[in-house]
Amino acid sequence: MSSDDGRICSGARAIITGCRLVAAVPFRNIQDAGVLKRQVPGRQPMRIPDRYRLNASKGNLPLRWRLSQEAIILVVAAAVFVVAGGTLSGFLTAENLVAIVRSVSVLGILALGMAVVIIGRGIDLSAVAIMAMSVAWYLELLNGGTGDAAAFASVLAGVLAIGTINGFLVAYAEVPAIFVTLASGSFVFGYVRSQVISQDAVPVPQDHWLERLGSTRFFDVPVEVFIFGALGVLTFVFLRYTKWGRYVYYAGDNPVGARNIGIPVRPVLVLQYVISALLAFVAGLLTAASLHSINTRIVNSTLLYDIILVAVIGGIGLSGGRGGVRNVLVGAALIGVLLNAMTIIDIPLLYQNLIKATILLGAIVADGIINPRDEQTAQQGDI
């Protein structure tokens, strides 16, 4: 490509191919070059539209047409909701709407913790193991006759310790989070399963406060919905309005830069994993409260992927620094509405998984088309 045929190219390509450099457009993707190609030569000076300027938003659609991934998912969730509400009898009842929120409460709480970690450019693969094994340990202690306060205190200490160790290894030993948490999750599961409990399922003792918590209702709404809501608000306030919450974004967006301007990046990282571990413990307690037992087999399930899915599908980029509680709510809403509608239609599980996967894949593809990745938007560490 050269200037002879009147085409224009940009950036480093100009140096390589010798074509006319028309503007300080840095490395952009092929689509950008394609659009530039369509410029008719001879109408100089060419005006670069705002949307292609360096500091313009990513993508090649005008801003007003562009939907964020969060908005796409919200639209898909709303569409499923409207279709299900219009066609399925019993979908729009108050009880069913409560059931939808409840069915994603535990998932949502876990996703809140995951969101905090992902925003800080990490990932916590030990969340489900901590959730199930901490509560299994707690119940085993109770069934073995340990006093409630002592049992709760030791398990809480254990949960804090695991969160701290995760954070320490990521922040100070600088081991990638994916390996640290994968290993610590396996360790927690393996240790508790082999040394502490004798069976997969550990029952809640008779008349324990967890049993009462599980049957607590306010205005006929299960308590876990309120706890999910409260934790959502707390996480929102933490991320949005506290100094350390803002640090999570800075550390996630640009760890080196954040450290250079004096943000205590390492302690922020540790804090993220502690928060995630604590939220996992709460999620486990709520599961046990509802089912009157905890089954550690859940560690082998796809729950961990569902958590990451809820966070990421809602628009929290795995590259860190972006997103918030709202994204978790949107992601959880889609999953909750989808699963509920499919259960009402009585679709077999195999097809449910297929439909779920197809819709999610569709949403990701739509996001890929509308918000293409390029050198400007992609970050190091992006998975």
């Binding site: 009842t93 399963r193 029952p203 299960p222 089912l291 449910q352």
Partner: protein, 342 residues
């Protein structure tokens, strides 16, 4: 006098010879059984590879088989794949290839197909393969477990009885998944019975994927859609706690008759029948099932036939237990069994 002497001598000789013959006869009457038994069994290795060692049935089998195998001088081992099909396959492969290859491999298969090739390999290597609980498409040397079709029929009959004639006659199912033989055949059995009772209908049949939380969520939806359901059949007591929670949450306890199936462990089944959580449970008679496994192990090791020669099905007698016919010995106690096995 001489006569008397002769008589005494003859008598003495007779007594002696009787004694002698007696001793000899005792030699001859030595039962060859125990010798052959010991010869065939002594030092033989038996390995159990369940889906996990973390649930009641596997721990129950292990306790019973261990006791028996060690009593006849064999070596008993277990492997714990912890629900992972891959880990189970690895355990079986390692066992077949190891120098201490088991003579009998007891496999609890996760589905119809996964271990078929491995089981065949094991047989080719000379290891007898016994399937427990879950059938596969592979004709093993023996299958010991439930006739899941029959078990489903028992569940459906219990549900129909639990509903009664004056009920809505609506039944909901919480299936396991669409891959496991126990789930597929259980469903087939339920359908068979309901065909004979056309006034009863299945209003929903979601899957729980054997997970209690999922079971709770789908049962909640099912009950909201059909609040007049009179019975629910959940395909495993491991996740039926979720269906029970949904019934409790909907305040339908006592109105919805919950039927499930399980290993007959006290805290998992009988205690829950007692407190009204479950209406009926089709329970496996673990002691009898384990005795069947032990018997077929002893038979195969003495049979002299190469592995893979025959294929025997030994179905465990099952029955639905309700609160009305709950007896102190209806269930077995895992803790007690483990204590006694040590």
């Amino acid at each position: 006098m001489k006569h008397i002497k002769t008589f005494v001598a003859a008598a003495a000789a007779m007594v002696f010879s009787t004694f002698a013959t007696g001793t000899f006869a005792q030699d001859a009457a030595q039962d060859p059984g125990p010798i052959a038994y010991a010869k065939a069994l002594n030092g033989k290795r038996v390995m159990l590879v369940p889906m996990t060692m973390g649930f009641d049935l596997a721990q129950g089998w292990a306790a019973y088989i261990k006791k028996e195998v060690e009593a006849w001088g064999g070596i008993f081992e277990t492997r714990d794949p912890n629900w992972s099909v891959d880990a189970g396959a690895q355990a079986i492969t390692d066992a077949i290839n190891s120098e201490t290859r088991p003579d009998v491999l007891i496999v609890h298969s996760p589905d119809l197909n996964s271990y078929s090739r491995l089981a065949k390999k094991a047989q080719q290597a000379g290891t007898y393969v016994i399937l427990v609980d879950n059938p596969t498409n592979f004709p093993a040397d023996a299958f010991v477990g439930s006739d899941w079709d029959r078990l489903g029929q028992l569940e459906a009959e219990a549900a129909i009885k639990g509903c009664g004639e004056n009920s809505s006659k609506k039944i909901g199912l919480v299936q396991g998944d669409q891959a496991n033989a126990s789930s597929l055949y259980q469903y087939a059995g339920i359908v068979k019975v309901l065909e004979k009772h056309p006034d009863f209908q299945i209003v929903a049949k979601p899957d729980s994927n054997w997970d209690a939380t999922t079971s709770r969520n789908v049962t909640t939806t099912m009950l909201q859609q059909n609040p007049d359901i009179c019975a629910i059949i959940d395909f495993w007591d491991g996740d039926a706690t979720g269906a029970a929670a949904a019934i409790r949450d909907a305040k339908l306890g006592g109105k919805v008759f919950l039927v499930t199936t399980g290993g007959g462990e006290k805290s998992a089944d009988c205690d829950r029948i007692e407190d009204g959580t479950y209406g009926a449970v089709v329970m496996t008679d673990l002691a009898r099932q384990s005795a069947d496994i032990n018997a077929i192990i002893k038979f195969l090791l003495q049979s002299g036939q190469p592995a893979g020669t025959s294929s025997t099905y030994i179905y465990t007698l099952e029955k639905a237990t309700t609160k009305a016919d709950l007896k102190p010995d209806s269930c077995w106690d895992l803790k007690a069994l483990q204590t006694s096995a040590q």
